[in-house]
């Protein structure tokens, strides 16, 4: 195995991906999902059992990131399809969620290797499917096209049999995107978390909450 190459996918998976994209034929999931994805050549160590808890960490501080520019473009577009800006809060990419996902799939821990495979293959599937259906890369699609593509894989239980693996990828990607988003200050505000501030007293739920619950 070539330890020098930069690509996170092995040669076989990469060739499959390109062939599939070029062919624009009906896409067989098996061609992409399950193709082995390499662990990074430069295997970093974790942060250890006694890390500095007071420091603020950014993706890339502790281990090298994975996504190529092309993959990042797809990742950003998918993050923002899942969590677009609205009147209340910014889009996922505006608060660093794609970088978080890159950090996540690059982490030198066993569970992360599994997600690394799912997500790199899923992004490849999304690109191939986008080419097949719309003749464009995913990031270049208009919103209606992106949504139409995602609708087919948005729910594992109802996805067509040939899209089950893509749906499982989408579920994982949505969980990571949303988790990454709602743990930021902007995301916490959006979801309605108003704590993490010192209070002189804890007064329990306000009267309007108690009324709504029939507990007033």
């Amino acid at each position: 195995m070539n330890r020098e190459k930069k690509s996170p996918m092995n040669r076989r998976a990469a060739i499959k991906w390109m062939l599939t994209v070029a062919a624009s034929a009906a896409l067989a999931e098996e061609q992409i999902f399950g193709a082995a994805v390499d662990t990074p050549a430069h295997r970093a160590s974790g942060y250890g059992t006694d890390p500095d808890l007071l420091k603020s960490y950014k993706p890339g501080d502790l281990w090298p990131l994975t996504l190529t520019d092309e993959q990042r473009r797809t990742a950003v577009a998918l993050c923002d399809t899942i969590l677009p800006a609205d009147g209340t809060s910014p889009a996922a990419s505006a608060v660093g969620v794609p970088e978080f996902i890159d950090e996540w799939i690059s982490a030198p821990y066993p569970n992360h290797d599994r997600d690394r495979g799912v997500i790199l293959e899923g992004l490849a599937w999304l690109e191939a499917e986008s080419q097949r259906r719309f003749g464009s890369d995913f990031a270049g699609l208009i919103l209606r096209q992106k949504n139409s593509l995602c609708e087919d894989i948005a729910h594992v239980a109802t996805a067509a049999p040939e899209r089950k693996k893509a749906a499982q990828f989408f579920k994982r990607y949505r969980d990571l995107t949303a988790g990454g988003y709602y743990t930021t200050p902007e995301g916490m505000k959006d979801i309605g978390y108003v704590g993490n501030v010192p209070l002189a007293s804890f007064d329990g739920p306000p009267p309007e909450v108690l009324r709504k619950l029939g507990l007033a």
């Binding site: 677009p84 609205d86 995602c150 949505r174 930021t184 709504k212 619950l213």
Partner: protein, 593 residues
């Protein structure tokens, strides 16, 4: 380190911390040995940090198994260089062991739930013929529960409930108000006959009364009173933010490093050596302990520390390991193990969880319910009568803890929301996230395990740690009592969720082995060197003093005879205080030399 001490204490957690506090306040010269590094919660606690500041949104990794901000340092389910083994490959018979290698041990991260054992809990065998009775009764420990609660600060209320003892007047701090989901559960549990009452936790809901308490705790000892008053004045009340599991820089909750050790050090009677891994207790020709042999982890060199008495409080299984590794011609089976009982009858807490989604809690007006960083209410075991009448099919009870959902969002905050939304994304997902945030409640049971012959630890005949010291090998088996308890708890959670108008996230488990937390997983492992009335059937006497070596004492949960559904830390501290009082008397009487 001096050449000779009155007492050597191994371990700095709840048992070691309390022992050091009691002994040094009374004037004894004490050396404490801690295997982990020094730790200062005031400087090191990540107060207010949000998950986005941490690697991987602060989620669990093999390096930090309870999450990045969990206070545990150099510990977890695996400690590098310090393995343990399991005798069985069967996943249902494996034991998992949580260790911390840091000053204060696991008191830095624990849940602070502080429930007293009740009268039944000390005499379980008398009640149902199972397990073992303690050699002491509730009345023996009650004064020490009062003292510990006053010292560390415990909030809660006296409810006069069966086998959930009240504290003496003026001991408990006021409980915080219940949160929305907790109040809803309280209202709806009533028709199921389940009481929902304030839980007891070692968190200062208000500041301690530094004028009143020191005189009650140390009558006739003005120096101790002065030191304790200063220590109490240095602690702030909870400011209702930041999870207790991170530790507490303002000393609002109990951890050994903020509550026990500072006043003990202020007496001038305590030396602490960290990075000191105790291998064995040293004994002389008369069979008395002369101190301990420890390895300086930084250099790998062996040292001896000498004391007139030794207290092992290394956490129950590590205490067992030290006893078993203290082998000599005189004690070929290890120390205090003439009857072969060391390592036997280890117990954990029985735990299982089920989550529900409660439509009534959707889209509530925004409000802050961080509170005291943990449960404010709980359901104490409520079916004593039905159980006694033989209606439940299992012995011993459990209590229920709640985890309402308006806490600071973590990475899993919307995980599996597609089960409810049918897979929304885009703007609709954002609306769904707002709507469902706070509508999930997680119920967990914490129940009693009955000691059995198949759950024990011993020295592994082959495997050694990085210093060449034999490690523990565990054997584990749940009995039908624990498994039926789990099935009952799962069904009860489902009823409770339904009574709140909600739906379970997944059906209650049909196979309890799939729903029970693995042995050791609740981190309440106790026993292994139980106390008793006779040297034939126990390892220590009613004071925690070993039968075989009278100047050797056990100050942690190793001496537990049963493991009631009351989380063990408060009882560890009460027993350690009582043990230390006895040790002081024995020292003064000259009985230990």
């Amino acid at each position: 380190m001096q050449s000779q001490y009155d007492v050597i204490i191994v371990g700095s957690g709840a048992g070691g911390g309390q022992s050091a506090y009691t002994l040094t306040m009374a004037g004894a010269k004490v050396l404490m040995l801690e295997s982990g590094r020094n730790y200062d919660p005031i400087k090191e606690t990540p107060m207010f940090q949000i998950d986005a500041n941490a690697p991987l949104r602060a989620t669990s990794t093999p390096d930090k198994p309870m999450g990045f901000y969990d206070a545990t340092i150099d510990g977890g389910w695996a400690v590098p260089g310090e393995p343990y083994t399991n005798a069985s490959e069967d996943p249902d018979r494996r034991f998992t062991w949580w260790r911390a290698r840091m000053l204060g041990g696991r008191t830095n991260h624990w849940g602070r739930i502080s429930l007293r054992l009740g009268p039944y809990d000390f005499k379980p065998h008398q009640r149902d013929g199972l397990g073992f009775d303690w050699p002491i009764a509730y009345e023996d420990l009650a004064p020490y529960y009062d003292k510990v609660e006053m010292l560390v600060g415990v909030f809660g209320s006296n409810e006069g409930l069966e086998n959930a003892p009240d504290s003496s007047p003026g001991v408990l701090l006021p409980p915080p108000k219940a949160r929305a989901a907790e109040l809803l559960a309280q209202q709806r549990a009533k028709k199921l006959g389940m009481p929902v009452v304030p839980i007891h936790r070692a968190v200062l809901s208000v500041r301690q009364d530094a004028e009143r308490l020191p005189a009650l705790l140390h009558p006739g000892n003005p120096k101790a009173q002065r030191i304790l008053a200063d220590a109490m004045r240095s602690r702030a009340a909870c400011f209702w933010a930041t999870s207790c599991g991170r530790g507490c820089a303002i000393k609002a909750n109990y951890q050994s490093t903020t509550v026990h050790l500072p006043p003990a050090l202020a007496t001038g009677n305590l030396d602490i050596v960290t990075g000191a891994m105790v291998r064995e207790v040293a004994v002389n020709d008369e069979g008395k302990a002369t101190g301990v042999i420890f390895i300086d982890k930084a250099t790998g060199l062996e040292h001896r520390a000498k004391g007139r008495a030794v207290v092992l409080a290394a956490s129950s299984c590590d205490t067992v390991r030290i006893l078993l590794n203290s082998k000599s011609a005189q004690f070929p089976n290890g120390l205090a193990n003439a009857n072969g009982l060391v390592g036997k009858y280890i117990m954990d807490t029985v735990g299982t969880e089920l989550a529900g989604q409660i439509p009534l809690l959707e889209s509530l007006p925004l409000h802050n319910e961080d509170g005291a960083g943990g449960s404010h209410v709980y359901v104490p075991w409520w079916l004593y009568r039905e159980q006694l009448a033989g209606k439940l099919g299992f012995a011993r009870g459990y209590h229920i803890e709640f985890h309402p959902g308006r806490q600071m969002p973590g990475l899993g905050i919307t995980a599996n929301l597609d089960d409810i939304t049918g897979g929304s994304f885009g703007r609709k997902f954002k609306e769904d996230a707002r709507r469902y945030y706070g509508s999930f409640v997680n119920f967990g049971s914490r129940g009693e395990m009955i000691p059995n012959e198949d759950s024990f630890c011993e020295l592994d005949p082959v495997v050694k740690d990085k210093w060449g010291v034999p490690v523990l090998r565990f054997h584990w088996k749940w009995s039908d009592h624990e498994l039926r308890q789990v099935t009952h708890a799962q069904q009860t959670f489902a009823q409770l969720i339904e009574a709140m108008g909600g739906k379970v996230r997944k059906p209650p488990a049909e196979n309890p082995l799939k729903a029970i937390r693995p042995g050791g997983n609740v981190k309440h492992e106790v026993g292994g060197a139980r106390m008793g009335d006779s040297s034939k059937s126990s390892v220590t006497n009613r004071w925690g003093q070993t039968w075989d070596v009278k100047n050797l004492f056990l100050g942690d949960a190793a001496s537990f005879c049963s493991n009631a559904d009351k989380n063990p830390t408060l009882t560890i501290m009460a027993l350690a205080w009582r043990m230390s009082d006895h040790l002081l008397e024995e020292l003064q009487r000259g009985n230990l030399t």
